[in-house]
């Protein structure tokens, strides 16, 4: 381990003779249009992009390594820090993976609330995408509108989890607690008014000639390239590949919900915009169905050695107190094995690969996050285009640096 395998940061081409118009431009890591600490090394011929090299790792915190030193239940709060714009999807994916290892059965009510919240989380993610994407293009107004609705969603998160962004509301075995009494009414109120808000964004952007000109025909990605490069989620569906894990490999009772999966065969930045906009309407439908059919019952699995007992029970039952003490101090053992749980989050296919060696700490937690793979496609999308298009493309692939660098 003494060797230094790192090559120079970038193999820059040898200095070209004067008169050559090629130029290396460093974009980021601190740049308002790179959505975080993304650094792009762009080779330009005049204003035309010759190559784009993403340099990542500025936000690397070693979350996967940290997970190995924590109990299974202590990993949950780490997961929502990875993709901080879609926190509940992270929680859900990790919990599903561990529950698969444990063979836990989750009560219906918990599953439906999980679906409801994951869809709200997707809306949250899409709203930030829409606001920042439009802002990158120069339509500053939309950002103020989408963040108004995002604030409503964050208040709903706060009401159930006590936290606006780092929710950690889903726990291994169910939810952390029953939502407050009027919470479902508040969701209903939000979801009734939300479709007209989508119309509002659409009115601001869809017919806007500047927005159209900046997006249409820009950043084309063919379905073959998308599959080869591991692109998932809305960018993949905008390239004409009809795959959505919510429908095709359902988890957490998604099979009980009816929704459409919007696709487009155009494959450009505009198609990705349209697909996401329709996806927001579909998410609204799913939330409405979850509200209409919300089953009653407990929100935690009946597994006293894994799920923390209710606070009230701890004060009256000796057993509950013992279980609580054991879980908090020693964790719980998970049978040895390896599982991969995939799911569809706001940006694409997320996956948690959890390896257990039979102890109370995960032997290995690997997170597959969509942005990491999607970033590889940026050069394919931008080659031969103007540098201004690069900004539109970064916005349209909707990356979060937290999940790229982990």
């Amino acid at each position: 381990m003494t060797e230094n395998p790192g090559a120079p940061v970038l193999d820059l081409p040898a200095a070209e003779p004067a008169g050559d118009r090629r130029m290396i431009l460093n974009m980021g890591p601190q740049h308002p249009a790179t959505h975080g600490v993304l650094r792009l090394i762009v080779e330009l011929d005049g204003e035309v992009i010759v190559s784009v090299q993403p340099e990542i790792g500025y936000l690397h915190t070693g979350i996967e390594k940290t997970c190995e030193a924590k109990f299974y239940q202590q990993v949950v709060p780490l997961t929502d820090r990875v993709n901080y714009l879609d926190p509940l999807s992270n929680n859900l994916c990790y919990c599903l993976a561990v529950e698969k290892l444990l063979g836990l059965e989750i009560p219906d009510r918990a599953q439906w609330i999980r679906v409801l919240l994951t869809e709200l989380s997707r809306l949250n993610s899409h709203l930030i995408w829409l606001g920042t994407h439009a802002m990158d293009i120069g339509a500053l107004t939309v950002f103020l509108y989408t963040f108004r609705e995002r604030e409503e969603i964050l208040r709903l998160f706060e009401a159930v989890a006590g936290q606006r962004m780092m929710t950690s509301y889903f726990r291994i075995g169910g939810l952390s607690m029953e939502p407050p009494l009027d919470w479902l009414d508040r969701v209903q109120h939000f979801i009734t008014t939300f479709p007209e808000k989508i119309d509002e964004y659409s009115n601001l952007l869809t017919g806007n000639p500047i927005f159209m000109n900046r997006l249409k025909g820009v950043g084309y990605l063919s379905p073959e390239d998308a599959i080869a490069l591991g692109v998932t989620g809305p960018p993949l569906r905008a390239s004409g590949v009809d795959i959505d894990l919510r429908r095709d490999m359902p988890y957490s009772s998604y099979e009980k919900f009816q929704f459409n999966v919007p696709t487009s065969t155009v494959g450009d930045t505009w198609a990705r915009y349209v697909v996401r906009l329709v996806e927001m309407r579909e998410s609204t439908k799913i939330v409405q169905q979850a509200l209409d059919g919300m089953p009653g019952g407990p929100v935690k699995a009946n597994a006293p050695k894994i799920v923390l007992p209710d606070r009230e029970k701890m004060k009256t039952e000796m057993e509950a107190l013992i279980h609580h003490f054991k879980i908090v101090t020693e964790g719980f053992n998970v049978p040895a094995g390896e599982v991969y749980q995939g799911m569809e989050c706001g940006h694409g296919q997320m996956g948690y690969y959890v390896v257990s060696d039979g102890t109370s700490k995960p032997y290995r937690v690997h997170m597959r996050y969509p942005s990491f793979a999607t970033l590889q496609a940026i050069e394919t999308m931008c080659k031969g285009r103007l540098i201004a298009d690069l900004v539109a493309v970064i916005g349209s692939i909707d990356i979060v640096l937290g999940e790229i660098d982990r």
């Binding site: 120079p8 390594k65 059965e105 094995g337 995939g342 690969y353 690997h366 990491f372």
Partner: protein, 172 residues
Amino acid sequence: MTSQPPTLAGKQAVLEGLPDHPAVKALEASEIGAWNPQAFTDARFDFGELTLTIAADGIRAACVVVQKAGYNFFEDMTAVDWFPASPRFQLSYHILSHAFKERIRLRVMLDEADPTVDSIVPVWAGANYYEREVFDLFGIRFSGHPDLRRIMMPDDWQGHPLRKDYPVEGYR
């Protein structure tokens, strides 16, 4: 407790239990390219997930075979360090089929002495960053990779943080 599908341990059990599985069938009796069916050494069906163990020198050919069998989407790849056991490193490739709506795991075991394996970037270009990540954090080399250099850690970093003998809080 949910009713999990029964576990099938060992290659023989999987061949008998899942005789019509497209990936198993393709790997067991295939004449595609450089693929040698002997390199398909072990299999396990557990938690509803199929794991196929491939000899280290056969992974690229195996990827071509499963790709032709309909497993068209490279989803994820990572390593597990089983220190101090031998062989020390396990590589797990997760391949998704858009047609069958199903995922398989290809698994490769590597010795500590020379952790080198063929890169699968020629098969799926999207494996590029994943192999760089494993190279960076585990120190496993991928021969044939177009641009194998560190991706997460700084270029002058010493050691490979996700190895089990690397302390969680780092060297101080």
